[in-house]
């Protein structure tokens, strides 16, 4: 009898110790991420990382993030490695974050290319991947049944050009040329634009891809001109856009409408690279911070407040990447504040629960079952001259328009 009681007591104490250990709050929330310190993605990636760092500094100044599972604030610790824009290195570093650093939160690097290698790893290790700007539609296929990914900002890239296609048809444009760099992000936009235009009755008179590293577009522009398009849409990374706009400006060719995506993402970077003359009247998407969400924001600072605080802290001017990095921090923060348990599955459930109900400086946060962002949309904008210089302004759809479009664009003097 005494032996049995003793055994029960030992078992009871052991289970109590075990359960206390399991529920003991960590001293820090380890957040693992990568950034590209060099290479093709460095300019956007470092800005995105700076936005995330700024969020981490802000929450740590208040004692950390509130974690509902423990009912208290816990400081966050960012663990970040430089993947040098290399997917091979990124794969190994994501693995290191998961298996050696044992991070609680995993955040992907900038863009689809550097995010792609994190997805299978996150799924294998059952850790939720916070995808900041990897918008390739391939990441969110229902057939994959992957619940370990959430796109925190921007819709999937295959959704982006739908508004553009409608705008082109509204202008009465019949002949469209589409040129794209051979990567997921650009290809999915090009394919969507092509299929949407065809549905709307337009003719795609030129549709070709170029290698990502293309730095000279002069001969390609002449080929496009042979097809006599009324509008030309070029999809690529910022290096492609810069080279394309530079070569168009010096080609002597004229197209009534020219669309490139990257001024929406890094307006100042592209403007400084190609100069005002080459940017004038070019069309692009419009995304935060060019769309300024202030009154609508229900969670976190307004865009104006964020910009003021960020620049005051010594940060550079903000762009979409900076906003995306900071916004990811806000979504992580909200997931931790709402998740009943401190587990990956519980965070995912919490995200589903608040999806569509919070509005951040980046727009409405709403994800579908696969984790794809469906709350935000990208209006079409045009780079127009203003008294203070060039400005990318929303021109379509009407409810988002901040200025009247100029079509056809004036010929360059």
């Amino acid at each position: 009898m005494i032996r049995k009681t003793l055994l029960l007591m030992i078992l009871g104490v052991s289970s109590l110790i075990f359960s206390l250990g399991a529920w003991a709050a960590p001293s820090v929330i380890k957040i693992g991420t990568l950034y590209a310190g060099s290479g093709n993605f460095s300019q956007a990636s470092t800005r995105q990382y700076a936005g995330l760092q700024f969020w981490a500094d802000q929450v740590n100044a208040k004692g950390g993030v509130y974690v509902k599972a423990y009912g208290k604030r816990i400081p966050v610790k960012l663990i970040a490695y430089n993947d040098q824009s290399s997917t091979t290195l990124a794969a190994s570093l994501y693995n290191r974050l998961i298996t050696q650093d044992r991070v609680h939160i995993l955040i992907a690097d900038y863009g689809s290319v550097l995010t792609s290698v994190a997805i299978p790893l996150a799924r294998e290790h059952r850790i939720l991947l916070f995808d900041e700007t990897g918008t390739s539609g391939k990441f969110f296929r229902p057939a994959d049944k992957n619940r370990y990914i959430v796109l925190t900002g921007l819709p999937t890239s295959s959704e982006w050009p739908k508004v553009l296609a409608n705008f082109m048809r509204k202008l009465g444009i019949q002949r469209v040329a589409i040129l794209y760099a051979a990567n997921d992000w650009s290809g999915s936009q090009a394919n969507t634009l092509k299929s949407t235009l065809k549905k709307l009755g337009a003719d795609v008179v030129f549709f070709e891809s170029v290698p990502d590293s293309t730095s000279s577009y002069s001969t390609i522009l002449h080929r496009i001109a042979e097809a006599k398009p009324e509008a030309v849409a070029e999809f690529g990374y910022s290096n492609n856009d810069v080279a394309f706009l530079q070569d168009y400006a010096s080609s002597g060719l004229y197209f009534p409408m020219l669309f490139v995506p990257n001024p929406a993402l890094h307006f100042e970077v592209v403007r400084k690279a190609v100069g005002n003359a080459a940017m004038r009247y070019v069309y692009s998407y419009v995304a935060p911070p060019l769309i300024r969400y202030n009154r609508e924001v229900t969670h976190g600072p307004t865009l104006d407040a964020f910009e003021a605080a960020y620049t005051k802290s010594g940060g550079r001017n903000i762009d979409l990447s900076t906003v995306a990095g900071y916004n990811t921090g806000l979504i992580v923060q909200h997931a931790l504040a709402k998740a009943a348990k401190y587990t990956q599955e519980s965070m995912r459930t919490a995200i589903d629960a608040f999806s569509g109900k919070i509005f951040t400086l980046d727009g409405l946060f709403k994800v579908n079952h696969e984790g794809a962002q469906i709350g935000e949309s990208l209006p079409v904008g045009q780079i127009l001259p203003t008294p203070s210089g060039l400005k990318l302004q929303a021109v379509f759809p009407v409810e988002s328009a901040a200025a009247k479009y100029v079509y056809p664009q004036p010929r360059k003097p």
């Binding site: 310190g37 060099s38 290479g39 093709n40 460095s42 300019q43 470092t46 824009s85 051979a182 070709e208 891809s209 170029v210 290698p211 590293s213 293309t214 730095s215 000279s216 577009y217 002069s218 001969t219 390609i220 002449h222 080929r223 042979e226 910022s238 290096n239 810069v242 080279a243 394309f244 530079q246 070569d247 400006a249 010096s250 080609s251 002597g252 060719l253 970077v269 400084k272 690279a273 190609v274 100069g275 003359a277 080459a278």
Partner: protein
């Protein structure tokens, strides 16, 4: 004039520029038998020099030409004495130079990120007047024509140096047979140092026009340019500066014709060309049957 003819002339402009990009790398290899894997990084530094001369001082980037020639020639001389003689004392200077200059390339890139940031930069093409140039009924960017013209002048000057000056003849003697050049009393190190300086300065000269030829510049652009330069000089013939001109033009033509008719394959084709040429003529188009390294 058809698209084909447009592409051929565009390929000539592009090729002449790339001949200038590669000629310095080949000169250094020909004289010293070392591979300067930091070649593209010196080009990148030259590009930033032009960028800042334009954006900070408001000068036309063409002013960067005399400034950078002096600066980079001056940089090349001490760099030669710091690195190359030690390399040549080793058992395998060619292989060791790969490693050393790769390290130098990484250091330059890292320092450039600190100094210039990661953002892409460029110079508006309008600095050369903006209006495109009409040639044979077609329109070409003025920046391409200016770049090709300066490249041609640069290559001609290097040719005149090599074939019509005493130092140039000494340089060629070292390229032909280093040990015999030593016996004949040629100051090998002095001549080599000048060649090294010219090699680096020619890279910087090419860098001045890179914002127009590559669209934009960034600190990490160097390695890709070094690889392209290497392809060009291998096509032409390692160690033969004239071969580089041929290699550059072939590269430019291949790229532009492919961009015109098979756009998606354009970046790959020059490398296919390289493989074909190496299979048919392993020493390069202007190479001797046997290269003694």
């Amino acid at each position: 004039m058809s698209l084909f003819e447009y592409a051929v002339l565009a390929g000539l402009f592009y090729g002449l520029y790339f001949a200038l990009v590669g000629v310095g790398l080949n000169l250094i290899f020909g004289v010293m038998r070392i591979i300067n894997l930091a070649h593209g990084d010196f080009l990148m530094l030259g590009a930033y020099g032009a960028f800042y001369i334009y954006h900070l001082l408001g000068w036309n980037p063409l002013w960067a030409i005399p400034i950078e020639l002096v600066v980079f020639l001056g940089l090349g001389l001490p760099l030669y004495y710091l690195l190359v003689p030690r390399l040549q004392k080793s058992g395998d200077p060619e292989m060791l130079s790969f490693i050393l200059f790769f390290g130098l390339s990484q250091v330059i890139e890292a320092l450039a990120v600190f100094a210039f940031g990661n953002d892409q930069r460029s110079i508006p093409t309008s600095v050369f007047g903006g209006a495109p140039i009409h040639i044979a009924g077609q329109i070409y960017p003025s920046s391409w024509v200016v770049s090709a013209a300066v490249a041609l002048i640069g290559i001609v000057l290097i040719y005149l140096y090599l074939y019509h000056t005493r130092a140039g003849r000494a340089t060629r003697a070292i390229m032909t047979e280093r040990s015999e050049a030593v016996v004949t009393g040629i100051s090998v190190h002095r001549v080599s140092a000048v060649a090294f300086g010219i090699g680096i300065a020619s890279a910087a000269l090419a860098g001045i026009f890179s914002p127009f030829m590559f669209g934009a510049i960034e600190p990490s652009m160097g390695l890709g340019i070094t690889v392209t330069s290497f392809v060009i000089i291998v096509i032409g013939s390692l160690g033969n500066p004239l071969g580089t001109v041929l290699g550059g033009i072939l590269y430019g033509e291949a790229l532009m014709l492919m961009q015109t008719f098979l756009t998606s394959w354009s970046e790959m084709f020059p490398y296919v060309l390289l493989i074909l040429i190496l299979l048919v003529k392993p020493s390069g188009l202007l190479g001797k049957a046997v290269r003694s390294a």
